[in-house]
């Protein structure tokens, strides 16, 4: 019994924790706590009880938040952000909910430890410790059970552990553990504390099932569970409805619906893609698909792979289905960290990485081209929106979309999936750090609008310091981890001669550095401080009393910052080369080694430095470029276009109102007159038949007896006649 045989424990432990909290501590908590009549629904039973108030209040109008945005766009005094109010609990967590979180954190810790053991076993190539030779090359299939078999088609529930899975297991359990830990502080005193841990554990379990699946069947189960649990978590504060007037952040119920429905659009294509592959090859299994797709029609396969990519577009929030992700920040900030770093959005990238052999080797080049151009375009597109946003989590949300675009571009341009996956790996840490850090800020001042921040660095040095590390990393500045993963994407695009993707990603690198430092200076620094970065009391523009967050919250920040720095420093020792070796099943592949200090690297880093300098000039030293651009007659429309996110939300709303509802009205007419006519007709026929037969049920005993005897006789005669006439 080696660790890898126990891999099912990795999702099973959080699942068990979830069940224990659900049926144990939460039930006790409800039982011991007096029911406050006025508070809506905090004592609901996990999932279903909670939908009552939310259902009643859910309106399809997801635009209210943006309308409000428009009103506040040109007034400097934006009202306090609604979401910020949640952060200011700071209350005391009673015993039973506390126990829930302890159970959750310990289960995740165990899972993480087991994942580390599995990593060790994979690295133990010669089998010195675990007596499993060369697992890194073969991976391991774990057959759980056959759901059922019809004919030759096997619907089996299988896990597969290979190097890609191990990387994802580490990322998911690692980040999730820290998020679980951090939430002890962030969610303290929240009435739904235990429910939060139930849903958080479910989210993690779903993602673990997704990455462990050996076939589309299991992957899809995880895929849908991820969708469900993100729905639950984004709408965690479903009773905060409607939003406070002037609120700039989306409020939970529409946001959760938007997340669910938008990703569902992508899933539609995903399902069709899976079914095409299944029909053509007769298998869901990834390994079998690698070989069996070679016999498929090239065009059909390419189409199927593009459709599968549609699922990734939805889940990983790529253009044009990215609109749900910024709204998803209506959930608690730890959830945003989990969604953006490790669980939800990583699923799409993982999917493409998992199917990479088919994308790269078997399908036509168009499939990967679609992936690459979608990614590169999204990277730029989201970065431009991020330039103008005022909500701290909003900027981070668009930066995630942009970075995910990098990952897809990286997958598309390279010969292996290592370049894209490496960016996913490093991004998971620094993005979790950014979100948890912003959560720390929101927790401290109770606002999300960066115009009400500033100078926070001296109030909360730990938060500011760690976020600075992450900001440098995402800007691609050496030696931080982001540099080692982002630069290879840009360099590879150049090496492969894909100048479009190269140009897009390079320019985006500049924009990224700019808007991330804009975020940092607006939040922590201000004019008059050192480079505008490290502000103090003079620069604070809000009216709260900021203080550093408790240790349980800063500890995960420090861990993540250390990871970001150490992974970066390890890059000098060839860590990324080792990562590539690992991900390629122990075979060395050519991974663009960034510190070769050639001109390309200088260009990439230079773009980032340029962005940083510009941000410092504008926001740290008061170069009024931004004001000029926003008010000049020429550029003002562009500014507005970016600020309003290219009006895509409005466009989609219009599409839904006019096209979709129009179509459904047409269908309703067809249904009412044609389909119902047929159905009612046949129903009337069936009812008529029933009325006739019902008359036989007289209630008179003699009739029943006659039926029994008569029936037996008729059957006997029939059998005799049939046997006599035909058989014998």
């Amino acid at each position: 019994m080696t660790p890898v045989d126990l891999v099912w424990l990795v999702p099973a432990l959080p699942l068990a924790a979830m069940l224990i909290i659900f049926f144990g501590t939460r039930m006790v908590e409800i039982a011991v706590q007096p029911r406050p009549a006025a508070v809506p629904a905090p004592t609901d039973h996990g999932g279903h009880g909670g939908h009552g108030p939310a259902d009643a209040a859910t309106t399809p109008d997801t635009e209210a938040g943006h309308d409000a945005t428009d009103q506040t766009a040109h007034t400097t005094h934006g009202a306090a952000a609604a979401g910020g109010g949640h952060g200011e609990h700071g209350g005391h967590t009673p015993f039973w909910p506390m126990l829930s979180s302890i159970i959750g954190v310990s289960a995740l810790l165990l899972s993480f430890a087991l994942s580390l053991l599995i990593l060790w076993q994979f690295l133990d190539v010669n089998g010195d410790v675990f007596h499993t030779k060369n697992l890194i090359a073969t991976g391991k299939d774990i057959h759980l059970y056959n759901w059922f078999t019809i004919g030759s088609l096997n619907y089996s529930i299988d896990f597969r552990v290979d190097t890609l899975t191990v990387v994802m297991l580490l990322v998911v359990t690692g980040v999730s553990t820290l998020v679980h830990l951090y939430s002890i502080g962030y969610m303290a005193g929240d009435p739904g504390y235990s429910r939060f841990y139930i849903e958080l554990a479910l989210f993690t379990v779903a993602m673990l099932i997704l990455v462990l699946g050996a076939n589309f069947l299991v992957l899809f189960i995880g895929w849908e569970l991820v969708g469900l649990s993100s729905y639950l978590l984004v709408g965690f504060w479903f009773y905060h409805n409607p939003p406070p007037p002037g609120s700039e952040v989306p409020y939970p119920p529409p946001a959760q619906l938007k997340a669910f429905v938008t990703t569902r659009l992508g899933d539609f294509g995903f399902l069709i893609g899976i079914l095409i592959l299944f029909t053509a090859t007769g298998t869901f299994n990834f390994i079998e698909l690698n070989t069996k797709t070679q016999a498929m029609d090239k065009g059909l396969l390419t189409l199927a792979m593009i459709l599968v990519f549609c699922g990734a577009v939805g889940k990983s929030a790529q253009f044009p289905l990215h609109v749900w992700l910024p709204d998803a920040m209506a959930g608690p900030t730890p959830v945003s960290a989990l969604i953006h770093a490790a669980t939800m959005v990583a699923a799409g990238v993982y999917l493409v990485a998992r199917l990479f052999p088919i994308y790269e080797g078997v399908a036509g080049p168009q499939a990967l081209a679609v992936v690459g151009y979608t990614g590169a375009f999204t990277a730029l597109f989201a970065a431009t929106i991020a330039l103008t946003q005022n909500d701290i989590k909003g900027v981070l949300a668009y930066s995630t979309i942009s970075q995910l675009g990098y990952m897809f571009a990286g997958l598309a341009v390279a010969d292996t999936n290592t370049v894209g996956m490496y960016h996913l790996f490093t991004h998971a840490f620094f993005k979790a750090l950014l979100f948890l850090g912003s959560g720390s800020v929101i927790h401290a001042i109770g606002a999300q609008d960066m115009r009400k921040m500033g100078g926070l660095a001296r109030f909360m040095p730990w938060t500011a310091g760690t976020i600075l590390v992450a900001t440098l990393a995402i800007s691609g500045i050496p030696p931080f981890s982001g540099f080692w993963s982002k630069d290879p994407i840009i360099t590879t695009a150049l090496e492969k001669g894909n100048y479009i993707i190269y140009g897009l990603t390079l320019f985006t690198a500049f924009l990224t550095a700019f808007y991330m430092f804009r975020l940092f200076i607006l939040t922590f620094g201000g004019q008059g401080s050192f480079l505008g970065l490290w502000g103090g009391h003079d620069q604070y523009r809000g009216d709260a009393h900021p203080r550093e967050s408790p240790r349980v919250m800063t500890f995960p920040l420090v861990v993540l910052a250390l990871a970001t720095i150490l992974i970066g420093l390890a890059g000098f020792a060839g860590f990324n080369q080792g990562f590539a070796w690992f991900l390629n099943h122990g075979v060395n592949v050519d991974f663009p080694v960034a510190p070769a200090l050639d001109a390309n690297t200088f260009i990439g880093v230079g773009a980032g430095v340029l962005g940083i300098l510009l941000a410092i000039a504008v926001y740290g030293y008061g170069l009024r470029l931004n004001v000029a651009l926003a008010s000049s007659a020429v550029t003002r429309p562009i500014y507005r276009l970016l600020y309003r996110r290219y009006f895509l939300d409005e466009l989609y709303l219009w599409l839904i109102r006019v096209v979709v509802l129009g179509l459904s009205n047409l269908c309703a007419l067809f249904d009412a007159y044609v389909i119902d006519g047929i159905v009612n007709g046949s129903a009337r026929a069936v009812r008529g038949l029933g009325n006739i037969t019902r008359r036989s049920e007289t209630g008179i005993l003699q009739n029943y007896g006659a039926a029994i005897f008569g029936g037996a006789m008729i059957i006997l005669i029939l059998v005799f006649v049939a046997t006599g006439a035909i058989g014998r």
């Binding site: 059922f148 039926a707 037996a712």
Partner: protein
């Protein structure tokens, strides 16, 4: 075979024996204490003893007598028998648990009386699946039936209940007479009541042109057809389901039906009667009965206004699907059809318990049992309504519920028999579509229709607990349907070897 009775043979009878003793114990306990909880707890916890015996028999199958028979071939403890013993114990547990509140509220009997009657009938049902000889088949049938007649009439103040009991007794007697007649003919043709001997002799008897065997087959089928409420022997079911107290109805719809199928398959397959269909057209009989049963059950269920009558017709329809599997067995004499029937029965039992739990819960709380009384139950009792909705959708065969897999498997087996049963499969699918209408109607009423009163119904703990168990059971069966099929494979196939060697 050993010629004397030893400890191993007693052990093989222990599950049934302990159920009978438990019945007596509960009845006696009722005289001593008036604490209902004690009696109920004794019965429910006591059921773990026969369960333990059954599991011990499952685990230690090698330690049994070599041919797995005891008491001179009267008792056969093979995988098939053990599956049904387990199923009946599950039924017993569910029925005892769910009826706890109802008995106190509506029946003027003590809980001990009620429980002991059910337990005695349960012992009969367990024996019906594990007898290898005609006389003991008949005796266990009567041991099953007589308590059922009492159960039908227990609601003494209700004339419908009395009417139901009288009808049940009289019609039950008639069907028993026909069954006995069939058995007598079988004995006459083969000269033995031992099913293994009969299996050996039937081919010879038939090839010598003895058409008496066909008559015996038809009569025995009629006798069990009454138990499983196959058309045209079904007419008792709606009246008696409606008139009897609701927990009793639940017991009829799952226990009596499963026992009927257990004995039918035992006699026909283990007794080799199915094997003689080679040159004959016995399967036509089964196929026609299956077709009529499905269609009548589902079509008439559409028109019902009383939920118990609707469930009666629904259970007739479900029997029709099971008979499709039986027709497949009659054609091919292969275990696949049997496997389908056993899996379907396991799912059917759990889902029907869940559905009836919802009905009993509503009756408990409001005393009403019409379909329109379910309006808005989703708001008045969300958990019960959700569980019942799940069960109804499973009964309708909506994927991916367990009921869907069960139905799919049976229809697939019939489909694989070639063109002879194609029409029956198509008819089964049409019936499936019809059945969605009346099952979904109840679900619609529970979750969409406005209730008369928007109060919250207080559900008793026993109802909630039963529903929880049923829901967990269905979900487990849905997820682990593959396990169910693998696990049942041995039990389903075990009936056949004796029949195939003439």
């Amino acid at each position: 075979m050993t010629s004397h009775i030893d400890g191993i043979q007693i052990w093989m009878l222990a599950p049934e024996l302990s159920v009978v003793l438990l019945g007596f114990l509960v009845l006696g306990l009722d005289l001593i204490t008036h604490n209902r909880r004690v009696v109920a707890a004794t019965a429910l916890i006591g059921l773990l003893i026969p369960l333990g015996f059954t599991l011990s028999l499952v685990v230690k199958q090698d330690a049994l007598t070599p041919d797995h028979t005891a008491f001179f071939h009267m008792l056969v403890v093979d995988g098939y028998a053990l599956f049904f013993q387990f199923l009946f114990l599950v039924i017993g547990f569910g029925v005892l648990l769910v009826s706890y509140g109802y008995v106190e509220k509506f029946l003027r009997v003590t809980i001990g009386e009620y429980y002991s009657i059910i337990l005695l009938s349960l012992a009969g049902m367990m024996l019906m699946a594990s007898t290898g000889e005609l006389i003991s088949v008949y005796i266990s049938l009567e041991l099953t039936s007589i308590p059922l007649y009492i159960l039908a009439g227990l609601s003494r103040s209700d004339t419908r209940s009395a009417e139901a009991a009288v009808k049940y007794v009289l019609l039950g007697a008639m069907s028993s007479a026909i069954l006995l007649y069939g058995m007598a003919l079988l004995y006459g043709a083969t000269g033995t009541t031992d099913l293994t001997e009969i299996a050996r002799n039937t081919q010879a008897a038939l090839s010598s042109g003895n058409l008496v065997l066909l008559a015996a087959d038809v009569f025995i089928f009629t006798g069990f057809g009454f138990k499983i409420s196959a058309v045209p022997f079904h007419m008792w079911a709606p009246d008696i389901y409606e008139g009897a107290p609701t927990p009793s109805t639940l017991f009829f719809s799952v226990g009596s039906k499963a026992a009927g199928f257990a004995a039918l398959l035992r006699v026909f397959i283990f007794g080799g009667l199915a094997a003689i269909s080679g040159g004959t057209y016995l399967w036509v009989m089964v196929a026609i009965v299956a077709a009529v049963t499905m269609t009548l059950g589902n079509v008439v269920a559409l028109l019902q206004t009383n939920i118990k009558r609707m469930m009666a017709y629904s259970s007739i329809g479900q029997a029709g699907y099971l008979l499709v599997g039986f027709a497949a067995i009659m054609i091919s004499n292969s275990p696949a059809g049997n496997l389908g029937i056993l899996a379907f029965l396991a799912v059917y039992v759990v889902t029907n318990i869940g559905a009836f739990t919802g009905i009993i819960g509503l009756a408990d709380a409001t005393g009403k049992e019409n379909i329109r009384d379910f309006d808005g139950l989703g708001r008045r009792a969300p958990f019960i309504a959700a569980g019942m909705g799940l069960c109804l959708l499973s009964l309708a065969g909506i994927p991916p519920m367990a009921g869907f897999w069960g139905k799919l498997f049976i229809l697939l087996t019939a489909w694989n028999q070639g063109s002879a049963l194609t029409w029956l499969v198509v008819l089964g699918l049409i019936n499936s579509a019809i059945s969605i209408v009346y099952y979904a109607n109840v679900v619609w009423r529970m979750f969409v229709a406005e209730p008369e009163k928007r109060d919250r119904l207080a559900m008793s703990g026993s109802v909630t607990l039963t529903m929880a168990v049923a829901v967990v059971g269905i979900l487990a069966l849905t997820i682990a349907f593959g396990f169910l099929l693998t696990g049942l494979g041995g039990g389903a196939g075990g009936l056949f070897p004796t029949a195939t060697t003439p």
